[in-house]
Structures are given as C-alpha cells and as structure tokens.
Symmetry: C2
Subunit: 128 residues, 2 copies
C-alpha cells in the first residue's frame, strides 16, 4: 500500500499532467489493468489502452484543460481529489465541472481504479 | 438501485439529522448490516448497533454539530456528500473538518456503506 505522501504526490502529478498536457506522464500513473470510470454510472474504460483512448478523445476537443484543485485527501491507501475541471476554448467560452475523483492503488503505487463522481448539477458554463 | 432523486433525498436527510440532532431518523437511513468507516483507514463500525454507538460517542462531546453542505452528487447508484462538519462548543470554540462522504445503497434505498474521506490537513480550529 502506498504511503499518504505517495498518494498525495500521485494526485498532484495527475492534476499537473492535465494542466501541462503531458499524456505520457499521465498514463504512467496507471496500472496495466487500470479501470477508469468517468462519471460513475457509465461503462468502465478497462486497461491502459482504454484509459489512453479516453485521454485522446478528450483532447480532440479544441479546448484547453485548466484543473483547479480544491482539496487532496489521502487516507487508508486511497486518494480523493476534489477539483474543478475547466475546459476553455480560444474564444474564452467553455465549461466547468466540479468533480470528486476517488483513486485506488496497488502496492507499486500505480492507480488501479479511478472513479469520477459528478452529475448534471456539477456543470456550469464559462463565459469570457 | 435507488434513483438519483432518492439518493439525493437520503443525503439531505443525513445532513439534516446531524443538524437537528435526530438520532432515530438518522439511524433509519442505514441497513441492518451497514458498514460505517470514518475516516477511511480506521476500523469499520459494522451493523446498525455499531453505527448507533458511533453517533452516541460523537454526541457525548459538549459540542453542537453544524454541517454545511458544499455539494451532493448522485450517480450510478452511489452518493457523494462534500461538506464541512463544524463542532462548536458553547463558548464558540470548536473544530471544522472538510469531509467527502461516499454512500452505497441497497435496493431498498438503505445505506449499506458509508466511507468518510478526510485527513489531518482537512481540519481547522474555530474561534469565536
């Protein structure tokens, strides 16, 4: 089980990769058999290739991803990221989603499962 | 699986019972075999009697519980409560803990598991 400090670092890296558009470093966080569910209630993306495909699909949008962290929690070998993901187009229009991400890890400190909790009430439009 | 609206109502009731000190209504939210883990990483309170004992232990403190909700999320049959629990003594001194509660339900809409995510960085003192 990773330490609280290792979990905290992993979640900070996760956010930083969204912010800097670092696909390879982001993918390195996940185990080969990782399960990615975003939002919870939709089908899981299973395995690193499926997780990579999720990243790639998001990045086909002509939007800049600007995550803003409200809180990172590490306890009992699990991690929680409370944040807002802002997706902003060149004209300043966009969308903000308030998300709670729940991370599970293996003993190597890799993310084995990520469950993203948000619903329609967590979304709001962004105007320039 | 309960609907999103039923999950939302259950979480609102959960908070309201803390606010109004309504032990019986709060306990009714849980299944007989409910598992209550607060915070995650500490031993689970298993079964309704153990959940009741948790409530009673918290309420031996001479503090008023004042929950403030930041967000309720319902998706995929699960519920997430993002809130701050303020515990305030008669002299106005107290403690605030920022918590993410994750709720699981059975088909009857009863809470079968509650996992509370918070760590030492989520606490701050309250002064009059």
């Amino acid at each position: 089980m990773p330490t609280d400090a290792e979990i905290r670092t992993a979640l900070e890296t996760y956010v930083d990769c969204w912010r800097t558009n670092d696909r390879e470093r982001w993918l390195q966080l996940f185990s080969s058999d990782a399960e990615f569910i975003d939002p919870v209630g939709t089908p899981a993306h299973e395995g690193k290739d499926a997780v990579a495909a999720f990243w790639d699909r998001v990045h086909t949008m002509p939007m800049e991803m600007k995550p803003e962290v409200d809180r990172i929690v590490a306890c009992g070998g699990e991690g929680v990221l409370v944040f807002r993901m802002k997706a902003v187009a060149a004209n300043g229009m966009g969308m903000e989603v308030s998300v709670v991400d729940l991370f599970q890890f293996n003993d190597a400190g890799e993310v084995t499962q990520l469950k993203a909790y948000w619903d329609s009430k967590c979304q709001r439009g962004i105007r320039p």
